[in-house]
């Protein structure tokens, strides 16, 4: 089996004032290439922490993560930046688009840091916006788009660097159920048609139902 994500004994301890909080207490998980995995659990169960560790936004206190065979926990800042740039794409609950950029510019933004020429950046951004159904809305700014459209822009942005793995943290959290279902259908479609590997964090069983496999977390551990 071709493994994209492999985590062994992943633990993360935060310092909150004088006390320590163990967000993760030794999580093992694997995600195969082309798999659509939902990470569910109540709030505080550590599911977002898992996503951040896999995405290279945070470092584990102990344990290891391999993405495409590269171990992350010992990486320096430079390697983590490269990892975020090349191997993963993020989709957030609150979209996190830059408000003064157009949809096209938002999608092209990650490529600017990768040193891709402007012409190619625009072309790839346009193609992806077409793909997520926003062809006619290229020049719109986030404030001129609905929540569902903004999340589609965010998905296009996450995919523009052709990552091995798409990480989505409550992607439907700010959307109503109908629009949320549309977004999930789009992700499912991308997963099926492009063999995109997906790891989606959610607390919503309806969202989790779109996944091939569900991993449950409780109190920082995988619930078997």
């Amino acid at each position: 089996m071709d493994t994209v994500v492999r985590a062994v004994g992943l633990a993360r301890r935060y310092k909150m004032g004088d006390a320590f909080v163990d967000a993760l207490r030794g999580v093992d998980l694997t995600v195969a290439r082309g798999e659509f995995v939902a990470l569910v659990g109540p709030s505080g169960s550590g599911k977002s922490t898992v996503l951040n560790l896999i995405g290279g936004l945070d470092r584990p206190t102990s344990g290891q993560v391999w993405i495409n065979g590269t171990e992350l926990s010992g990486s320096d800042e430079r390697a983590l930046t490269r990892h975020r740039r090349q191997h993963v794409g993020f989709v957030f609950q609150s979209f996190n688009l830059l408000p003064r950029l157009t949809a096209e510019e938002n999608v092209a933004l990650p490529l600017m840091f990768g040193g891709v020429p402007e012409k190619e950046r625009r072309a790839r951004a346009r193609a992806l916006l077409e793909r997520v159904g926003l062809g006619p809305r290229l020049a719109h700014r986030p404030t001129q788009l609905s929540g569902g459209e903004q999340q589609r822009v965010a998905i296009a942005r996450a995919l523009v660097g052709q990552p091995a793995l798409l990480l989505a943290d409550e992607p439907t959290g700010n959307l109503d159920t109908v629009i949320g279902a549309e977004i999930m259908s789009l992700l499912k479609e991308l997963n099926r048609e492009e063999r995109l590997t997906l790891l989606v964090v959610t607390h919503d069983p309806e969202v989790a139902a779109f996944a091939d496999r569900v991993i449950k977390l409780r109190d920082g551990q995988v619930e078997l």
């Binding site: 957030f92 830059l98 600017m112 840091f113 990768g114 040193g115």
Partner: protein, 431 residues
């Protein structure tokens, strides 16, 4: 990130807060304006000084004999001469290839009373002191203006028995301008009166009449003899026929072919212990003074720039706070700490550059205005000085812009480092 992306992104970021950007740049504008104005004043005055000096003859070298140091016992006597300007030295200088003209000067003491007489025309009490020494065309004083010949010709080098007078001298004797040309070639007597009561006539032939070329000349009758003509007067005055062998000439003016030749002559004569002076040495002193002045005035601008850089740093730190979430997003999509640092440094530098451009234009306009003001004041005061006192050169503009940018860059160092260090996860959670 390419340079083009960097410029585009930082310009667009600055454009979001136009008023804030402009206000932060104002400090730099004030500082650069001050510095540009001061330096342009320096450049302008320097150019003006050099222009005046060129006109006065930068190639001219002036030599004076060196006298013994005076002691309390000798302070009221004529000082003894140690290093003499001998006729041999004059000949040596005349023989040089890099010398255009040499004039030796002999002076009478200030207390000498000299009068002019032409035929029956004598004006004993009012015809005053005769100018002593060489011709007025290569005088021993710097900045003397060459006179205009209105009749006759110039005094020939080493001529004996020839004299030139100015218009005032003839007017004092009662001649009108119309009669001037008739007087050329006539005999003219120079009467020398010693304090001991002796009076001696020296007879010359009038070869030229010159115009009064300044206010002093207008009021003062003058006669010019050349060193050869002066020698008998001085010998009689001191009652010493060998005075040239004992004392040498009183001064020597050497006009070199070029400025470099003049500098060489100065060095060579200084090595032989002569008291040498050229406008070059004066010019160097003037330049040094200007540099000190410019440095002092520019430091006021420097102070303004220091304050400005604090302003820029403040703006950038505010900007980092405001854009914390944006920084988090940029890091999440693959911006490196270096990219973030570069972005904020570019913005700070651009604020500096912006202020620099405004300050340079402002300084240039202020210089133009001040120049007009100064010229108007000089005209009002009837001081006959014209020229450009504020000159903004290309290198000054380049220097100002680079300096302004560097001020912005330095001010941006800390905020940029702060932005680059932000933890992406915390930045993303920031509201």
């Amino acid at each position: 990130m390419t340079l083009k992306d960097l410029a585009k992104t930082s310009l667009s970021n600055l454009g979001r807060h136009k008023v804030r950007t402009a206000l932060s740049a104002v400090g730099v504008t004030v500082g650069i304006l001050t510095i540009v104005t001061m330096l342009s004043l320096g450049v302008g005055v320097q150019q003006e000084v050099i222009r005046v000096f060129r006109g006065a003859g930068l190639e001219t070298v002036r030599v004076r004999p060196v006298t013994e140091e005076q002691t309390p016992f000798t302070q009221f006597a004529e000082p003894e001469r140690k290093v003499l300007i001998t006729p041999a030295l004059v000949e040596e200088m005349r023989a040089r290839d890099d010398v255009v003209k040499v004039n030796a000067h002999i002076y009478l003491p200030r207390s000498a009373n000299t009068f002019l007489r032409i035929g029956e025309h004598a004006d004993e009490p009012s015809v005053t002191q005769v100018y002593v020494g060489g011709t007025p065309w290569l005088p021993s004083e710097p900045f003397a203006i060459s006179p205009e010949l209105i009749a006759g010709e110039e005094l020939t080098d080493g001529a004996q028995g020839e004299i030139i007078v100015n218009a005032s001298a003839l007017e004092a004797l009662g001649y009108g301008r119309a009669e001037f040309s008739d007087l050329i070639g006539q005999e003219i007597a120079l009467v020398l009166k010693a304090p001991r009561g002796d009076v001696q006539d020296f007879t010359f032939r009038l070869v030229g009449i010159i115009n009064a070329y300044d206010d002093f000349e207008k009021q003062n009758p003058r006669a010019y003899l050349g060193a050869t003509g002066m020698l008998p007067l001085k010998a009689w005055w001191y009652n010493d026929p060998d005075i040239l062998e004992r004392e040498g000439y009183d001064a020597l003016t050497i006009k070199a072919v070029s400025l470099n030749d003049a500098v060489q002559i100065v060095e060579q004569l200084e090595a032989r212990n002569f008291d040498v002076e050229s406008l070059k040495t004066i010019l160097d002193t003037v330049n040094k003074t200007m540099v000190v002045l410019q440095t002092m005035l520019s430091s006021i601008g420097g102070l303004a720039l220091l304050v400005a850089s604090i302003g820029i740093a403040n703006t950038m730190i505010m900007s980092v706070y405001e854009r914390t979430r944006e920084i988090g997003i940029l890091k999440a999509v693959g911006a490196s700490p270096g990219d973030i640092r570069l972005l904020f440094m570019a913005e700070a530098s651009l604020i500096g550059l912006l202020g620099g451009v405004a300050g340079t234009i402002g300084g240039w306009l202020l210089g133009l205005g001040l120049n007009e003001g100064i010229l108007a004041y000089l005209r009002w005061k009837e001081i006959p000085v014209t020229g450009t006192f504020f000159v903004v050169t290309g290198w000054l503009v380049a220097l100002a812009l680079v300096f302004a940018t560097v001020v912005g860059l330095l001010a941006g160092l800390y905020p940029a480092a702060r932005a680059a260090r932000l933890d992406p996860l915390e930045a993303l959670r920031y509201e």
